[in-house]
């Protein structure tokens, strides 16, 4: 494109510049949300669905493993014996202090509830922010 047309267009553009309407900034300031902008970190859930699913999967695998160890006694490999010992000592410890198991159960349920509540709150927050 030649220089002259561009100069001409620029001139047209300059002449058509407009100013924002009177009281524009006042209107914006009056209509801002009452809270200050929230940081993105605050709006993100504590656990992403991927991490939550991985943790749940890991727990299920561990539970199944323990269940199998308790039920069978054929293998004599090193890792199996270590796990068996660990399981036996854990069971005896749980048996000696009867309040531990319900406490761990209640703690786990509370964590799951907190994660669910956190996700619900963050979703509400994001919806409010538009």
């Amino acid at each position: 494109m030649k220089q002259l047309p561009d100069d001409m267009l620029r001139q047209f553009w300059q002449d058509s510049k407009k100013e924002a309407p009177e009281g524009f900034s006042d209107f914006i300031m009056q209509n801002l949300p009452q809270h200050s902008p929230l940081s993105e970190a605050l709006k993100k859930p504590l656990l992403s669905p991927g991490i939550a699913a991985s943790l749940a999967g890991l727990l299920v695998v561990l539970a199944l493993l323990l269940y199998n160890l308790k039920g069978s006694g054929q293998s004599s490999s090193g890792w199996y014996l270590t796990m068996q010992q660990w399981l036996d000592s854990s069971l005896s410890w749980l048996g000696s202090s009867p309040a531990t198991l319900p406490t761990i159960g209640a703690f786990s349920v509370a964590i799951v509830l907190l994660i669910v509540l956190d996700r619900l709150l963050k979703r509400m927050l994001n919806r409010m922010e538009g």
């Binding site: 494109m1 001139q11 047209f12 924002a20 900034s25 801002l32 902008p37 605050l42």
Partner: protein, 187 residues
């Protein structure tokens, strides 16, 4: 005071610091919206919605990027969205019809008044696509570089260059034909 400092103040809870940012960019944002929408009321709405949206999502603004680029991107998305909805609802009126409403003096660009130039540019822009109008607006907003234009429009730099060249050529042709038409009618 720099943009970064004002943004930090707003994030820290000093909402009044946002006024300085609004006042700094309101004309640019309003002009950008107006050039895309070609309607003062709609441009005002789009500009207002842009500043309120920007305030709401200021927490996600990364301080290593340029605030104006981010702001123009939000403004252009807002205005393009409105322009597309408007186009679906009602096709653009014929610019020539609007042109015939008013008498103009001399249709030679050098002898025109500022108002006439503004009016003819409006008529020419109405003949272009809203994406072309966005690229042209960014081109004539002098502080926006080609890289920033690419970031704002969501296109790659080479595509921006090609489309911007085409848009300027198209605008020149449309404007010339409107001015020629006016010159003929004036005779």
């Amino acid at each position: 005071m720099t943009d970064d400092l004002l943004i930090r103040m707003v994030k820290a809870g000093k909402a009044e610091a946002y006024r300085a940012l609004v006042e700094r960019y309101q004309d640019m944002v309003y002009n950008l919206c107006y050039k895309i929408l070609l309607d003062e009321d709609e441009a005002k709405d789009a500009a207002q919605e842009t500043f309120i949206k920007v305030y709401q999502v200021l927490g996600s603004f990364r301080e290593d990027s340029k605030f104006s680029t981010w702001l123009y991107r939000i403004a252009s998305n807002m205005a393009l969205g409105k322009a597309r909805r408007k186009k679906r609802a009602e096709p653009l009126e014929d610019a020539r019809y609007v042109a015939s409403d008013e008498q103009t003096g001399d249709s030679q660009p050098d002898n025109m008044s500022q108002e006439e130039r503004s009016k003819f540019l409006h008529l020419a822009l109405a003949k272009l696509d809203e994406n072309d109008r966005l690229l042209l607006s960014l081109y004539y907003l002098e502080e926006v570089s080609m890289d920033e234009t690419a970031e704002i429009s969501g296109l790659d730099k080479n595509t921006v260059k090609v489309r911007m060249h085409r848009a300027r050529k198209k605008l020149y042709n449309v404007l010339s034909s409107i001015l020629n038409q006016e010159a003929k009618e004036a005779l």
